[in-house]
Symmetry: C2
Subunit: 456 residues, 2 copies
């Protein structure tokens, strides 16, 4: 096959300027935010601006068994859109339209729209699109759907899957499938919409999403509580979540508190074993919810508790959680990871992470979505320091081993991608692996769609 | 094949007494609550009490290409467990264990447990299992999972799928697959748990479910509002749901009000075009939510509005919705159906239903989950009256045509089953039909599992 001639054929069928084979540009599409040094180089990048561009690209690739790596904003930290040598990278970054229908409380969006832009467009109509991954300002809504993204709001509002009513996907053979619909309770056969959400581009390429919106909740009240011990914060969190549904409930470990304090200088207690941040957006019930949280924090040994119903003070109270990333970005490479252990094992996990960081002479801090039992270890090391990168990589592997030893999982809200596929193979039962593979084969028989991610 | 000898082979591998071929008993497993006169007669009924019984039955059937109809409590109104001539009906009614783990807020349940028993077991620990299909006192949790059952609470709390963390299923070949897990944010490959929920027994047979529980919400406040016109109630409902999230929001049409009043004698306004019932369980915010609802109801023309924060009075206020079924059961056959149209088309739908009932000389009333845009037409006719049954059947078909003409769907929260599979075939795009079929073939290659339901 003369690939160059063949690509000429494809480019004629695409929107003008959609395809590039410029080496410099190809280079910039090699890696995503997992910064995989082993990332391949695509043979071409197609930046689709219409569903037809996506169809043409897949028809072309499928008939030639060329792999296709779909890519949103490229913010995957697990290699969800890491390029493959000789494959086409299909970027959706140009498909960004957002249409809000306030009367049906839905948004019709293209996959390249940034999550933050979707949220803002909804907010203009007094509506709310809840899912809030940490990267919401820079990640795409299509990527959120592909990974079933979560965030702090999930404790009360659920994950991306809960807000997708329908989607248009282009299948590997170029055919277009309209999945789901704009009714909340449609049952159009098997739950294909739910199957495609979280499939990381292995089953089809999303060209449009119909999202469910909800009324904008009231301004949240905010509580922060310092605990001498992580175990106390965990017990308080469990007491709270057994009784009420906060709109956010996060726990920072001691290492995270220290990094935040160094960056923010807001007199955080850097001796504390844990900082718990709780919010309630329950309107007139928020005050009672805050009192309930305060009571349980004090009962479980909190050394200091602060509560505010003020918007600006509340935003200040939650700053430590976000400061970790900002502080680390100034210092070098930041890698956000995620693992999940049963909540009562969290103290062992965070102690273990501190120990692993020490032994590997690297930096790891963690914060936890306490109600969802999901912990984000965040690693940091100097740019262009191979030894430091290797130490961080070793620490990550040890953290995975620890999480599994504690009865947890390492494939959680950031997705599986290329990076964690091996971990998944080890963790999954052979029957389930076979089932995943059977469905993949049924939907993408030539295995062209993102063939190195997710499915063992 | 000598079936009788073969069945003897199977019965030796099952728990004692699991299998029956007693003609009288077989007769009682022919129909479900869709009362399909064309229901087949099973060759045998297996009442499994262990996962092994399910495995043995499927291995046996798969190797002989005998169809298997899984059955929970048999309350499907769309023929989800209607028997097939020569097939084995596999009942899960004996698998009823319920185990609550309060510390992780989960319930591990067997599929035959009644939904009401799951709710009660959770409540004992101060926890709440929200999904509340009308039949929750008599339907099984496995059937709820198989159909992704909903109910009035869905407006705020979502459907069954939102509460299933993991499940154990036996696949057609008898292998056991553990899907999902007990972590909220596990990503074990493709979203198979979500795919199996709502698959109506076509992909596997559930032998265990891990359910997510939430804290028990406070006692709800309740509002009832009568409107001269259905259109006014609809506008009020839309105003309300654009601003807040009630825990329940139902609308009864005039025909339903009349039936409820005749049965309850509680001085309902039988001239009203619509009765709106709203609830809020938002604790200290409930009063404000009630005031907001009252304001919007009055603004949109409500002739009378009543609000209560009293538990018993609240239960009285919502009685009309449930009275419809009770009143009809005393009179004869009751058929609950469901269709969904965009909420602004609801007045056309309910007017149309009244007209259809008149023309066919049958009885149909309706109530609507207003926030989810889902309407339940409920039909009633004398027992053993074939002409009346035919009129009701004709009316149902006309209601389906009307719902579709109004831009709606007829395959909604009650599932598709055998009864609505033809409707689904007509409504679905060929690409989506092909996709459904490809996945079914991949998971159940001999097409033994409930082969007449759901998948076109």
């Amino acid at each position: 096959m003369d690939t160059v001639d063949d690509l000429d054929l494809l480019t004629q069928r695409l929107s003008p300027g959609a395809m590039t084979t410029d080496p410099d540009l190809l280079q910039s599409y090699r890696q995503d935010w997992s910064f995989d040094p082993a990332a391949g180089t695509p043979v071409a990048v197609v930046r689709a601006s219409t569903a037809s561009d996506v169809q043409e690209t897949l028809c072309f690739a499928d008939s030639r068994s060329i792999s296709v790596v779909p890519r949103g904003a490229g913010t995957s930290v697990v290699g969800g859109s890491t390029a493959i040598d000789g494959a086409i990278t299909l970027s959706l970054e140009r498909m960004r339209s957002i249409r809000i229908d306030a009367s049906s409380r839905t948004a019709i969006v293209e996959p390249g729209a940034l999550t933050n832009d979707v949220k803002a467009a909804a907010a203009k109509e007094g509506l709310y699109y809840p899912p809030d991954p940490s990267s919401f300002e820079i990640c795409s809504i299509g990527g959120n759907a592909a990974t079933n993204a979560g965030g702090p709001c999930c404790v009360k509002y659920g994950v991306t899957s809960d807000y997708i009513l329908g989607m248009t996907v282009v299948l590997a053979d170029g055919s277009i499938a309209e999945l789901g619909g704009d009714r909340i309770k449609d049952t159009p056969g098997l739950s294909l919409t739910k199957l495609f959400v979280g499939s990381e581009g292995t089953l089809g390429v999303i060209t449009e999403l119909t999202l469910r919106l909800i009324p904008q909740p009231p301004t949240p009240h905010t509580l922060v509580a310092f605990f001498p011990l992580m175990s106390e914060a965990v017990t308080a969190a469990r007491d709270i979540t057994n009784r009420t549904r906060p709109s956010e409930l996060e726990i920072l470990d001691n290492a995270a508190i220290k990094v935040a304090e160094e960056f923010l200088r807001m007199e955080l207690d850097t001796d504390a074993g844990a900082l718990l941040i709780g919010r309630s957006d329950a309107g007139n019930a928020a005050e009672a919810e805050m009192e309930l949280m305060r009571t349980h924090c004090e009962k479980r040994g909190a050394s200091a508790v602060f509560v505010t119903d003020d918007h600006h003070e509340g935003e200040l109270f939650i700053r430590p959680r976000y400061a970790v990333y900002e502080a680390f970005e100034q210092k070098g490479v930041v890698i956000g990871d995620d693992v999940a252990v049963p909540i009562d094992k969290l103290p062992e996990l965070t102690d273990g992470i501190a120990d692993i960081a020490n032994r590997n002479n690297t930096t790891v801090v963690s914060y936890t979505h306490a109600a969802d039992e999901l912990t984000h270890p965040v690693l940091n090391y100097p740019v262009a320091d191979e030894a430091a990168a290797a130490s961080a990589a070793a620490a990550r592997r040890e953290i995975y081993d620890l999480a599994r030893a504690l009865g947890g999982t390492v494939t959680t809200e950031y997705g599986v991608g290329q990076h964690k596929r091996g971990n998944l193979s080890n963790a999954l039962d052979p029957v389930v692996v076979k089932l995943n593979r059977a469905i993949k084969n049924a939907v993408d028989p030539n295995n062209i769609l993102n063939p190195r991610v997710l499915i063992p």
